[in-house]
Symmetry: C2
Subunit: 908 residues, 2 copies
């Protein structure tokens, strides 16, 4: 092969190719894969790829050199020869497409022009060869529309006023034509109408853009190629590259390829196929096709497609003939293609094909999308047949897909036949069937009777907690993905749909009207919480977690993983779930959790008493009363975690969160405390804050009220000591939140050491513990070196660290975050996926400095990012020791951690 510097155009077709499947840098993804498939001997429509280097040259010089034009013409004549047609010929004209293709996929960012070569002089020949005048004029009007927009307007740098772009003008003309013809779809226009439309289009081009629509094939070709190259420098593509960190100098390649048509009569067809069943993963060729049709027709659904073979039949296609039956030769060729491609990619692939007059063309192929179930089954099948190895199998299931496999789900087959009666936001995953109730009390009561319940509420509040726990699923008419119902159920891994606005709830009558139908208490509904769909009646469920293949798959993961996994858990119940899902410890036990929810009345009252104390003496007294509750609470979870480390965070939220806000609540507290409601209110006002997120919380409470932290530390150590006597193993990790530097840590360490000595003397036993801190304030990242002098571990609180680093209050971002995502100013919601380039860099600085001081410092993450696969991969890369997340996210974190380790190994 000639050297790339000398060669700019790479042909493919007739089983030969100048390039290969691995030359993505020069040929782009599309050009390389077409070359690869051609070299595999597959019947790809011939074409050629103009290299990315030409793109750079083009953007510098503003045109194609004569030398390159000559190369292109030479390649085109190869295509003509291969196809037995001729570009611009009046008898048997060859049409081509021009498509962009960069080294890395940039979906929708760049341009494509189809049907290039169609002119007044080639139209008659194409009508003659296709016997389909309507098709030809429809293709022509598409060419005019696409070309005038992409080439003549955009690539020429014309910026029309809003609503006056050439494409919009043409769309209005098309609408008007359809209206006049009294029809709704494009396909209803007849030849005469299409001819009129083409004329109107060309007139509009002349009038708006000031020149004729090009009627010369090569003029069209040069324009199309240039437009593809220019689109690399378009505003959207540039914005996308900035976000994705793609260098400008990569450039795009331009692939010019012969167009083939499946609508040239009864010996022509078009179809799509998967090498295996994409829903179930079953190892059967699966697909559908249409005789005498274009690719768009299969997708549009205007005609019912035929099944490829018996296995692919469904209700609609069950009586239609299969490809295997009507074109057995073509079918056999397709099966061979399928086998070749699976062997080559070692994965399930999907492919598009066109049969043009009994000649089969592979138009496109790529790795096929699949359901979570299919992903698991295909991976395990391929592993069992030794088609792929273990690491590859592990990489084949996306962590987020795994999430879908962990919950009971609706039987997919049954669901496919049912019609949803309402839709909402998919707040809690999995599926559920139950009888509807309308109050928390009813949910508790019906649950006691052993019934399955769907709790329906306008929206939920903390008073509904017990009912929500008793219910199998929760359905609300209002609220978003961060509403109370969504947050609570997601934490529990419970099926939930929120914001289902189609619900008209009458709590008094205990009825709900959905889509005009009245449902009464006790009626059955079925929920798909993964997709936010509500069905009437009872649909069958499957327990996906019982899937033996899932168990086998999860068994593979842990030996590849370096990153440890822990759970954020505050109760014995959560701790048990965490262990069942593979937790190696608790990474975040929130001591304040005991003041929320069931059984919290007495401790909460004592806490409030402490908060409202006017003197240190009063506060000490209240703390003394509170201490036994705190110890009991911690001990219960420590007992479950026997032998596993538990990181216990001292009091974190600002105190005013615990002062009752309602007048009634304040009065109740006042009576109980024997002070005036006015006093309660006043004290609440005193501790009110303008920006509570950045206020008096975490260690700042420990500094101003050391007695609070002292009580907590004593409770922790005493709980540990008592369990040691019971013969349990305890690994305590005492964690200080919201620290800004070393001095706070040192100050609190003195308290911890003092209490430790006291408790040790009292119980006469060593209680193993570590001392450490959250890293959740940007300044702490800068001071991590000093902080590691006291801290034996850092746990990155990525939620708060993201808030402070961005200056984003999570409670307040709804007003602008959607715009930031839409405009590609941010790639992801930084509270979902860690912001590697900002927050991540702060973490890396903290890690480097912390390790410098204390090389064996333990490093973890306990923000919600710990359960996000992309974030987990990053945490692996920057060398954390563990991530901690919600118990239900643990399998996802484990898989993400294993994949990160595998990718790292393979990339080296």
């Amino acid at each position: 092969m000639t050297k790339s510097e000398d060669k700019h155009v790479f042909r493919f077709g007739a089983k030969t190719a100048d390039g290969t499947g691995s030359m993505k840098n020069l040929l782009g993804g599309k050009g390389a894969s077409l070359a690869g498939a051609t070299l595999l001997g597959l019947p790809v429509p011939p074409g050629f790829t103009i290299s990315t280097e030409v793109c750079n040259l083009y953007l510098k010089t503003g045109g194609l050199s004569d030398k390159i034009k000559a190369e292109i013409k030479e390649a085109l004549s190869f295509v003509e020869k291969t196809m037995g047609m001729k570009f611009g010929d009046s008898k048997n004209p060859l049409l081509v497409s021009a498509r962009s293709g960069a080294r890395q996929s940039m979906p929708g960012m760049m341009e494509t022009v189809l049907n290039v070569g169609l002119t007044t002089s080639t139209i008659p020949g194409l009508i003659e060869t296709t016997k389909n005048e309507r098709f030809v004029y429809d293709s022509y009007r598409r060419l005019i529309m696409m070309y005038s927009d992409v080439v003549m307007e955009k690539a020429a740098g014309i910026e029309p006023e809003e609503g006056h772009g050439i494409r919009q003008q043409m769309e209005r003309l098309l609408e008007a034509k359809k209206k006049k013809a009294g029809c709704l779809t494009d396909t209803c226009l007849n030849v005469a109408q299409l001819k009129e439309l083409c004329k109107e289009f060309k007139d509009a081009v002349k009038k708006t853009l000031g020149k004729e629509f090009p009627d010369e094939p090569y003029e069209q070709l040069w324009g199309a190629v240039g437009a593809v190259f220019k689109s690399w420098g378009g505003a959207r593509a540039v914005a996308y590259r900035r976000i994705e960190n793609i260098p400008d100098e990569w450039g795009t390649a331009c692939t010019v390829q012969a167009m083939v048509f499946g609508n040239m009569g009864d010996h022509s067809a078009t179809g799509v196929a998967f090498s295996r069943n994409p829903a179930t993963g079953e190892n059967k060729f699966y697909g559908e096709f249409l005789i005498n049709a274009q690719g768009e027709d299969v997708v549009a659904g205007t005609r019912t497609p035929n099944a490829m073979n018996e296995e692919s039949k469904n209700d609609q296609s069950k009586d239609l003939p299969t490809l295997e039956e009507v074109m057995p030769e073509m079918y056999n060729q397709l099966v061979a293609i399928r086998d070749t491609l699976e062997k080559d990619t070692k994965d399930m692939i999907d492919l598009e094909f066109t049969i043009q007059e009994n000649k089969l063309f592979l138009v496109q192929h790529r790795v096929g999308k699949r359901t979570a179930t299919a992903a698991l089954n295909i991976a395990m099948d391929m592993l069992h047949t030794k088609f792929i190895d273990e690491p590859t199998a592990i990489l084949r299931v996306a962590p987020e897909q795994l999430g879908q496999l962990l919950y009971p789900i609706l039987d997919p087959e049954a669901e496919a036949k049912a019609t949803p009666i309402a839709r909402g936001l998919p707040a809690g995953p999995g599926g559920a069937v139950g009888q509807i109730v309308f109050t928390s009390e009813a949910a508790v009561e019906w649950n006691r009777k052993g019934k399955h319940i769907v709790l329906i509420r306008e929206e939920t509040s903390p008073e509904d907690i017990e009912g929500m726990r008793a219910a199998n699923a929760v359905l609300t008419a209002r609220g978003g993905m961060t509403s109370h119902a969504a947050l609570v159920t997601r934490g529990w891994g419970k099926c939930c749909i929120v914001g289902a606005s189609g619900l008209d709830i009458n709590t008094y009558e205990k009825t709900v009207t959905i889509d005009g139908q009245l449902y009464k208490e006790g009626d059955y509904l079925t929920l798909n919480g993964t997709q936010g769909l509500v069905y009437s009646g009872e649909l069958p469920m499957i327990e996906a977690t019982e899937n033996p293949r899932l168990k086998e798959f999860m068994g593979l993961i842990d030996k590849y993983r370096r990153l440890g996994v822990r759970a954020n858990a505050d109760t014995p119940e959560d701790a048990k779930v965490a262990l069942a899902f593979g937790a190696e410890g608790i990474g975040l036990f929130r001591t304040e959790h005991m003041f929320y929810g069931e059984g919290s009345d007495e401790p909460l009252f004592l806490l409030r008493k402490m908060i409202l104390s006017n003197t240190r003496a009063e506060r000490l007294h209240a703390l003394k009363e509170l201490a036994p509750y705190v110890k009991q609470d911690i001990k219960a979870t420590l007992r479950v975690m026997d032998g596993h480390p538990v990181t216990i965070r001292l009091l974190d939220p600002p105190l005013h969160e615990f002062v009752p806000q309602s007048k009634f609540g304040q009065e109740k507290l006042a009576v109980a405390l024997g002070i005036s409601a006015e006093d309660v209110h006043k004290r609440g006002e005193q501790i009110h804050e303008n920006n509570p997120m950045m206020g008096h919380r975490g260690v700042r409470l420990g500094i101003t009220y050391p007695e609070i932290y002292e009580m907590q530390v004593r409770a922790i150590l005493e709980a540990g000591a008592e369990l040691l006597k019971e013969g349990k193993e305890v690994h305590l990790e005492i964690m200080i939140p919201v620290t800004i530097g070393a001095a706070e840590l040192k100050t609190m360490q003195l308290i911890v050491e003092k209490v430790y000595d006291e408790v040790k003397n009292e119980v006469g036993a060593d209680i193993p513990y570590m001392y450490g801190t959250m890293i959740e304030i940007p300044r702490a990242c800068m001071r991590a070196g000093d902080m590691a002098q006291s801290a034996q571990f850092f746990s990155f609180g990525t939620n708060d660290l993201s808030q402070m680093s961005f200056g984003f209050s999570r409670d307040d971002i709804d007003s602008f975050l959607p715009d930031y995502l839409d405009l590609h100013i941010l790639r992801n919601d930084p509270f979902v996926s860690i912001d590697k380039r900002g927050v991540g860099q702060l973490m890396e600085i903290a890690i480097e400095r912390g390790r410098k001081t204390r090389p064996d410092i333990k490093l973890g993450v306990c923000g919600e990012h710990g359960g996000d696969p992309r974030s987990v991969e990053f945490f692996h890369e920057i060398g954390l020791d563990y991530v901690s997340c919600s118990p239900y996210r643990l399998p996802i974190a484990r898989l993400a951690a294993a994949q990160a380790a595998i990718k790292e190994k393979y990339s080296k």
Copy 2:
């Protein structure tokens, strides 16, 4: 001299010394300065310094080696010989002190023991030589108190329960003794009572600490030396070192020195002196002394001290004989010492001396503290006599002192004679005299009549603005240093005292009662706003800024300064003041300022209309109406700044700040807008935020409502274009606030460039402008490299950057910041002085990354830190181009910048 490894004890005395004045590392500050003075031939009481290396050894081994003890004994015999006395001698006993002294001053952090060597066997001898039994027993009880606390309790590691420390017990015994004697001060106890007390003290030592008080001189000495060394490892000293970044291995030296006494009879005396007048700076020796007295007596003020010479006489001492008269020989020796020390230090010094039986001792000397006026005069005098050079003169006035020289002040002499009638917080600097009024309206009216006014209010609110402006000073009964009155007047550089709780104001009667005296409207009061003092009647004032020496001094500064200085100014008035104070441009023009204060009614109404718009069309309409006001506002300030750069920040605060909060205000707006008050309220609620500091503000508004920024940019460019036509010079700098990364900047840049092209076409002129951003979010520091692709300048918004980096809401820190400062967790309020080790590091990262992308990027600061001297020094060090601060802080910033440049040059 022997090598330091071999030598541990360094003698000084009799004009020789083993060490020198520059050996601070080995001898500590105190040991080195005593050695230095001795070598200058000055009569320092002899002694020796045990080196810092011994401290490290001591702390490692827990004691002094025999070799070192022998060295100490040898040095002690040198002291004995020099003094002609003997340690532990029953006839003529030598007493010594043991003091700590580290390389760097750590005030109050470490221990001192005086009178070491006083025992039952040496007491009689000392009584004999001093002829003062009372003095001896008073010294003895002081030794017991100090020694048992410092050596026997603290250094022994005994931690008594609160209130049960040995010192506290002794203090209670002392109180009881005084009560019994019916007297109030220590000095009234007679010999018998002091003897009893010494016995009681020794009993307490035995009972509490379980051993006898040591009665052997060497035992006392070893104990005292050990305690000094151990105090290096004390908790407070360790905390201090942590904060000040002082390495533990520095250690402290221990200086043991002969005690000398000025109370041995009429040929003894003690005094303090300044080489020049510390109040005025006049070049006259200045001091006072007492015959037959101890140093404490001079300070205590129980006897009226005599003046040193005629020049030092004051009202009290004017009829007493001077030292020059009664001890001319001693006086002449002192004058010689003064000259020697000034010559050596090239600065004004203060010194303490003791005359023991006609023998003069220099006990201590150091650079003398002085008033701002004295600092300026001494610096300029010494410069004029070529005693020091220009850079040294510039370093001799502290920037904060300069602040005191910039305002009219009360005549210090007159003030010294007057008694304040009330005290408050010194909120606005300088002095003022005026007639009191009680309402804003009255202030405006009286001011129109040409009267000088002091406006008295309970506290001020925005409605008082015009009255505050009209008044010469503001005095409030309530509010702290961040109250409305304090903030507003400080910005104006206007005299103000807040929180003067002694004021009983009756606004209805137009009277105020202060200290029992009734003052009516029109009565005169005088305020010292620099110290928070209120005087009755009219005190004379001096215009310090007219001081020709100040002008000369300010003239020196600018040629040494590298850092540019700009002002934060939003009005033509502020801009004029800024230019007068030396501003080289405006570093922060807040576009939102026009919506506050006088004349803001119409623009504020239009802004509110815009905010309450429901649709983009409505918003565009309101913006169109608002635009001319915005342009006018910007143009007025640009005109004043003719030729200087002006950085204009686009809209920054969250919109809800502008929605009226009161029901009345909402109703008024509703009527004006023709919508319901309910709608106004609702819209206000919609944009309410939980943490507004981290909410929808700055560029986030520009992203969601690009039309707002577009209007502002157009107004800026049109204002510039119009001024260009008027023949003015404009240097616009358009600044985007609250950015988190490059994408926002790029997005806004497209708007700016679009509007620029449009305006340029309309006016047909190039309008010079730069485009840049605030760096005020931690993430922006990480992304500065990318941001510099668009930004031609960065202006660090250190207020917000400090808030986000610390996670401190400035509005909410009162609940914990005082504790953080008290406990030395923070060295300074980070909103006053930049936090170099956290926020400063983030800035350094941003600078490095920004410069890497754009080497000539302009870098400034526009937070309030720009006017803080310590921060300015840091900004110089990290290489910023300019600082911007309140106009009244400009001279301070200029001086701080010059000093930073000089220090940098000298340190190289």
